[in-house]
Amino acid sequence: MSSPIISIAQKPRQTDPSGGSQGSPAQLDAPEAPKSPVRQFLMSRSSGKAADTTFSAIMLMCALSIFAIVLFILYILIARSKLSISQFGFKFFTRSAWDPVSGDFGAFPFIYGTLATSLLALLMAVPLALGVAVFLTELCPQKLRAPISFVTELLAAIPSVVYGLWAVFVLVPLMRDQLGPFLQKYLGWTQLFNGYNFGVGLLTASIILAIMILPIISSIARDIMLAVPISQREGVLALGATRWEMIRMGVLRNARIGIVGAIILGLGRALGETMAVTMVIGNHPEIPKSLFSPGYTLASVIANEFSEATGDVYLSSLIEIGLALFLVTIVVNAIARALVWAVTRGAPARAH
């Protein structure tokens, strides 16, 4: 794509060397006017190689700074968690001790809490998100399409701490007084809802997480479904399928890799979500036995205890938890992005 432009761009420079050599070096090297060098540089119509090279080098540096940021975060987290890595080794992630007083740390309850809340949230969010995506791409009247997608995007723009505030004052009482007893009464036989219901706990955290990841999953799934060529839909419909059969065979089957990517992207967001979860999960470093019992997640233990961590081992344990969270979300996001790209790359070209 860019090669014809470059050749066009370079031609005048090569065929017209007098103009280039006349203007640029004189203006760049010997500023005669009282203008500042920066201003003069911007004013100059230089077509010299120096300006172009400098400019593209600056742009390249900024692009490389993204690599640098990731590598730097990785380096600094490893460097600061060395103490706990050397003291506990890999067993850090399988031990369930969390005792700041005696300096004994293990991250298992947090890993458990993070996985449990994220998976529960996915369980609630995925069917709903796919329903919304299907509705928006296939069923929705054209007039409603823009407002509904706007509203779901607004849902994504609400800050995490506001979700947390709402959860603390609305969702927690609701869970304690209405939803909790209801679940205990009718689904108590599953043994999932045993124990005392405080209102805060795994289930409440999962519900607020589900609300938060819904817009992400549904908007990406919508984009992916839109990337499925119209001809696929027409083909299935022409064979006499109902609309649902068209959606199932023509759309969902073609978009399934991308939809899995969208779900994993939602998982990545759920794993790292901090504030809202911290406010409603109960913050208790024990492996929860029921959905009502308070738990802890990797992100919320950092948010809660980092600023009051006393002692180097305590601090470096918390940083190691951050490191684990960083690596896990990087891997999860990389997989998800690769899947989403596999579907949407080149798809617009085929779509029309």
């Binding site: 400019f55 600094i76 329903g131 706007f150 506001v162 505030l165 950092i302 999860v332």
Partner: protein, 312 residues
């Protein structure tokens, strides 16, 4: 297409003639059709229902927020600093100003770097493996939890300086802005038609000049949109500020000291046991959300008005 592709298919009568038209099969066919159409309606209903379920919490959250926030919002909220525990009144003036300051630092650092990286991806590195790698890294960095940014900046700046500072908070937010801005800038630059660039090159305009005054200018509405969206996203971030800006009960405009920020203050007040502070948390949330929504909506209107479309 001039030729109808369906002409190659056998006419539909052949199918009917091929199947033995006994009563049993025709009833089975009819039952099958009823089942399929029933299923179709069920799934349609489910999709509509799930959309309603998804919209419901938004309406609930926004409605409750406006109800609680509007009833606790007053002028003192914007002009006073927090009152000590037990005293009524007080506001979040310092937090609003602090948020502005931290966000200003973040924008000052994040926006130029983000745009420049986007320019590299779209103009200089198009198609190269390096650009793909940068793009991928930006997407991945976008998904890194904000709390991790918080502890990374804590380890980098706060631990060195031995105290929390507004500057550290700004750096943490700037890092979060970069990937979003990079990706939107790249996408917006990709929509600029080649003819415009070629016209500039044809006039002998050097490449850097073309990028600055032609390509970026043409794509500027979209790029501004991207910057505003990134800004709105980090404006509500609490986690990266917990250990960097830290929060402050008093007026502070110094970059080298802990500073109050609106989301931080909301968090602290929300988990406090005092009703008066809860009231302030609701008011703060309303202010925060109105700020974010207004910027997002403005951006949408601005982007939809099609300055970009007109240009291209």
């Amino acid at each position: 297409m001039a030729t109808n592709p369906f002409h190659t298919l056998p006419p539909p009568q052949d199918f009917a003639a091929g199947a033995s038209p006994t009563q049993q099969t025709s009833r089975r066919v009819r039952l099958n059709r009823v089942r399929r159409h029933l299923w179709n309606h069920v799934v349609t209903g489910l999709a509509v229902l799930s959309t309603v379920i998804v919209i419901a919490p938004l309406v609930a959250i926004l409605g409750y927020l406006i109800y609680k926030g509007a009833s606790s919002l007053n002028l003192a909220f914007f002009t006073h600093i927090p009152a000590p525990v037990g005293e009524p009144g007080g506001g979040m003036a310092n937090a609003i100003v602090g948020s502005g300051l931290v966000l200003g630092i973040a924008s000052l650092m994040g926006i130029p770097v983000g745009i420049a990286a986007g320019v590299y991806l779209a103009e200089f590195g198009r198609g190269s493996w390096l650009a793909s790698a940068v793009r991928f890294t930006a997407d991945v960095l976008n998904g890194v939890p904000s709390i991790v940014m918080g502890i990374a900046i804590y380890s980098l700046i706060v631990m060195r300086q031995k105290h929390f500072s507004a500057l550290a908070g700004g750096v943490a937010l700037a890092i979060m802005m970069v990937p979003t801005i990079t990706r939107t800038t790249e996408e917006m630059l990709a929509t600029v038609p080649h003819a415009i660039r070629e016209a500039a090159y044809g006039l002998g305009v050097p490449r850097w000049r073309t990028v600055l005054s032609v390509t970026l200018k043409t794509a500027s509405p979209g790029i501004i949109t991207g910057c505003m969206l990134a800004f709105a996203r980090v404006a509500g971030e609490t986690a990266p500020l917990l250990f960097t800006a830290f929060g402050n009960e008093f007026w502070s405009l110094r970059l080298n000291e802990p500073i109050a920020a609106l989301p931080l203050q909301i968090y602290v007040y929300a988990i406090s046991p005092y009703d008066e502070w809860h009231r302030l948390a609701w008011a703060g949330s309303l202010v925060l959300i109105v700020l974010i929504m207004v910027s997002v909506t403005l951006v949408r209107i601005y982007a939809n008005r099609g300055v970009l479309k007109g240009a291209s």
